[in-house]
Amino acid sequence: MSELQVRKIVAGYDSAPVLRGITFTVPHGSLTAVLGPSGSGKSTLLRVIAGLNRPVEGAVVIDGTVLSGPRVHVAPERRRIGLVPQDAALFPHLDVLANVGFGLPRAQRRGRKALDLLEMVGMTDYATRMPGELSGGQRHRVALARALATEPDVVLLDEPFSALDAALRAEVRGQVREVLRRAQTTAVLVTHDQDEALSMADQVAVVDEGRLVQVGTPAEIYAKPASRWLAQFVGGALVLPGTWSDGAVAGPLGVVPANLADGHIAHPGDTVDLVLRPEQLSLSAVGAGGGPGVIAMVCDVAYFGHDAVVTLDLPGCEQPVQARVLGDQQWRPDSEVLVGVRSAGLAFARE
């Protein structure tokens, strides 16, 4: 059992704080993704958990044992926390097997255990290769095996896939998730890629400017974002102004059913921001009797095969809005379409 708690961490370099009070808990054997734009303090958080950076305030706790806290700082080599850095950081002077065995006692460095881990990540055939002879994905698998070899309580992954090309990334993600699940290791993954966070993690913690914005399951983060910023950061969203009346917002798209975001209060007649996901919009041909909706002009179509993003010029709306539709629908620029809304949106009260 190893449950990681991060409590009110304040940390930074020199005097400027990079983290201003971060708190979350990673349950045993699960993977939490720390998601945030670059410069939000994600990597510093990882270094604090690993013990490479000493927090100014707050505590890092594993199973009730304080590793960082007031007057306590356990050295990184004694924390039992593994690290998989962004660039894999394999030791260039050691072969693959020696890299995996680095953290083991001298006698076991080339023994059964290191070989088992290589097998787990599917790299048995490469045991005597040097890191320079491996591809990017292979390096990450070796780095993961190296971090797992010491049977750490927690494994930290620092943007581990950002150096890989898109095709390889999905494949390596899946492999890493599988290995972590089999090893039943508690893991923290730092990323700025929302697809990565949503698809890999059991829990997502969104960080911005050193503060925690929201913690929740991927579905919660996507369906119930805590703020307009978060809605736009994760998954993309259109934000439209409107007038609140119980359970609906009247605005450029007509009257759209909506729920108020958690903690937001609005009275009928108040101005609110309606947040919709692009896939919540439906398009149909004008005059085909396709139900309620407003007529808009198609500006641009970006076609991806499985789906397409249609950019629309909506009357009464300053900025163009985007709708995500299935790839079998064909829309031409400079034609008119009827825009409807499939499901309830999310309304945020204006301060």
Partner: protein
């Protein structure tokens, strides 16, 4: 490991363990403390010299200054520095332009040939000129030092020309400038800091040069210091002159550092570059070939010709060298150089590691202390350590340890550079990973950092040893009685006009000096290294 627990109430109950915290604190201080110790050791020659002068009787100093015609010496030295620096600037920039910006055929071989001058130690070149011509005095020293030092300007200027934006020169031409004015107004400002940094190195070299001015019987500071020291009565005078020389050296090094910084900023501001179209020389190329050939003949042909004459023809009466002596001298040279390189490495490790891994005021301060080795002429370091060992550590006087220490101080900048650049190449991420895998900081150093950095550091130490083998003035003052090195034997034989006997020594010394010169030439011309490393 588990040093605190949450109590049942959820509060923090800290149980700090003082011994381990003290140990951790001690561990963190080891590096800065050893860096400070190393920097202080490197500063001993300068500090002791100042102490020695401060202790001397004030009126004795004034007398010494008047008696020595110090103004004459000053004018002699400054005159030589200015003359050689200007000549090197003009020649060096002209050669660099020919090799980097024109369609001159054979630019690559010409680059190698014109850099080969670095492979001839200046006192070996002086030997060549003395042995074959009647040139002596100012013009002798001027010729020898100019020819030997031109590459110090040529190489960094080529590096800067390759980075400089050639399009701005084209623009200047379209705005009505002649080719010459366009070069002066558009290109020269972009390469000026690099060329001037090279010129300042030349000035520093001329200031500290002992062998060639002594052989040419030109009354410069360094030679006067040696004469005053040997006369035994005038040791205070020697110390005073050394302080003056040290001050001039420090000023030159500080100026060189500023220029280098200016060039580094220049490089970063230039955005997209167009490949320059080489200037077509047409019939002028024969003149260019001729000029380069004359420079090569003077800088390489004369010393090598002297060698050939005395080695092959053997016309002189048999003052010829005994092979046994040459072997013995070579062995002691290698031994001393290895000891010196070891001393330089020991001093350089803490300073270099600190400079590579920590950006702090302390790191900057200890690193600049290491540059004293570049600023202090060999004769000054030698003299100061003679005083120091006589008065403070008599058992070290004229021991190989004191000489090894002098080499360590003199070649510390090279060693620190090698340590720092090798360690910078080890990614800090590797050290982080090693820590999380259970290695202590010391374990990380031995298992990761040192293992990866070692080849670079080793190559740097080898270069230091090769450079130490040709060191002359400090060796003359500090070598144990009866011990000769290749350099001191060459100096003694040449001073005694035993040219045939000196020739084999000159040959071996050229071979020794050629290794670092040729190894580094390409990297200096490519802007990856600084020309001082070839000295």
């Amino acid at each position: 490991m588990r040093s605190a627990r949450f109590t049942a109430a959820g509060g923090l109950e800290a149980t700090p363990a003082p011994p381990s915290r003290l140990r951790a604190l001690g561990g963190r201080l080891v590096l800065p403390i050893s860096a400070v110790v190393a920097a202080s050791l490197a500063a001993i020659p300068l500090i002791y010299l100042v102490v020695r002068v401060a202790q001397a009787d004030g009126s004795a100093i004034v007398d010494a200054l008047w008696n020595a015609r110090i103004a004459t010496l000053m004018i002699n030295t400054i005159g030589l520095v200015l003359a050689v620096s200007s000549a090197c600037l003009v020649l060096g920039v002209a050669i660099a332009w020919l090799l980097a910006r024109t369609d001159l055929p054979g630019r690559r071989p010409w680059l190698v040939v014109s850099s080969l001058a670095l492979a001839v130690p200046s006192y070996v070149a002086a030997f060549g000129w003395i042995a074959t011509t009647e040139v002596r005095g100012f013009w002798g020293a001027f010729l020898v030092l100019t020819l030997c030092n031109v590459p110090l300007v040529t190489l960094p200027t080529i590096a800067a020309l390759r980075l400089a934006d050639a399009a701005s020169e084209d623009v200047a031409r379209t705005l009505g400038r002649t080719r010459w004015r366009a070069f002066l107004e558009a290109t020269w400002p972009q390469i000026r800091p690099a060329s001037l940094a090279g010129v300042l190195l030349v000035a520093l070299y001329v200031l500290s040069d002992f062998g060639s001015v002594a052989l040419m019987r030109y009354q410069a500071f360094t030679w006067a210091i040696q004469v005053a020291y040997e006369s035994l009565f005038d040791r205070t005078l020697a110390a005073v002159m050394s302080v003056v020389l040290a001050a001039m050296g420090i000023v030159l090094v500080a100026a060189e550092r500023r220029m280098r910084g200016a060039q580094a900023r220049m490089g970063s501001t230039v955005a997209a570059r167009t490949q320059p179209v080489p200037v077509a020389l047409g019939r002028w190329r024969w003149l260019a070939h001729g000029g380069l050939a004359v420079v090569a003949a003077l800088s390489l042909g004369v010393p090598l010709g002297a060698l050939a004459r005395y080695l092959l023809l053997r016309t002189e009466t048999s003052t010829a060298v005994k092979t046994g002596d040459l072997m013995a001298d070579a062995l002691s040279t290698v031994g001393l150089a290895v000891a010196g390189a070891g001393a330089a490495l020991a001093l350089a490790l803490p300073i270099g590691i600190l400079a590579a891994r920590f950006r702090s005021r302390l790191a900057t301060a200890t690193e600049s202390a290491s540059y004293l080795g570049l600023a202090l002429p060999g004769i000054v370091v030698g003299l100061s350590l003679v005083f120091f060992s006589l008065n403070v550590a008599p058992m070290l006087y004229q021991s190989i340890w004191m000489l090894a220490f002098a080499y360590g101080v003199l070649f510390l900048p090279k060693a620190v550079g090698a340590v720092r650049s090798s360690i910078v190449q080890v990614e800090p991420g590797l050290e982080d990973v090693a820590r999380t895998l259970g290695s202590t900081p010391a374990g990380v150093w031995t298992r990761v950092t040192a293992r990866i950095a070692w080849p670079g550091i080793g190559a740097g130490v080898l270069l230091v040893a090769l450079t130490a083998m040709k060191e002359l003035p400090a060796t003359l003052l500090l070598r144990p009685t009866g011990t000769e090195t290749l350099a001191t034997s060459l100096w003694r034989l040449t001073s005694g006009a035993a040219y045939a006997a000196a020739a084999p020594y000159a040959l071996v010394l050229i071979a020794v000096a050629a290794v670092p010169a040729l190894l580094l030439t390409r990297e200096v011309a490519g802007g990856k290294r600084h020309p001082e490393e070839t000295l």
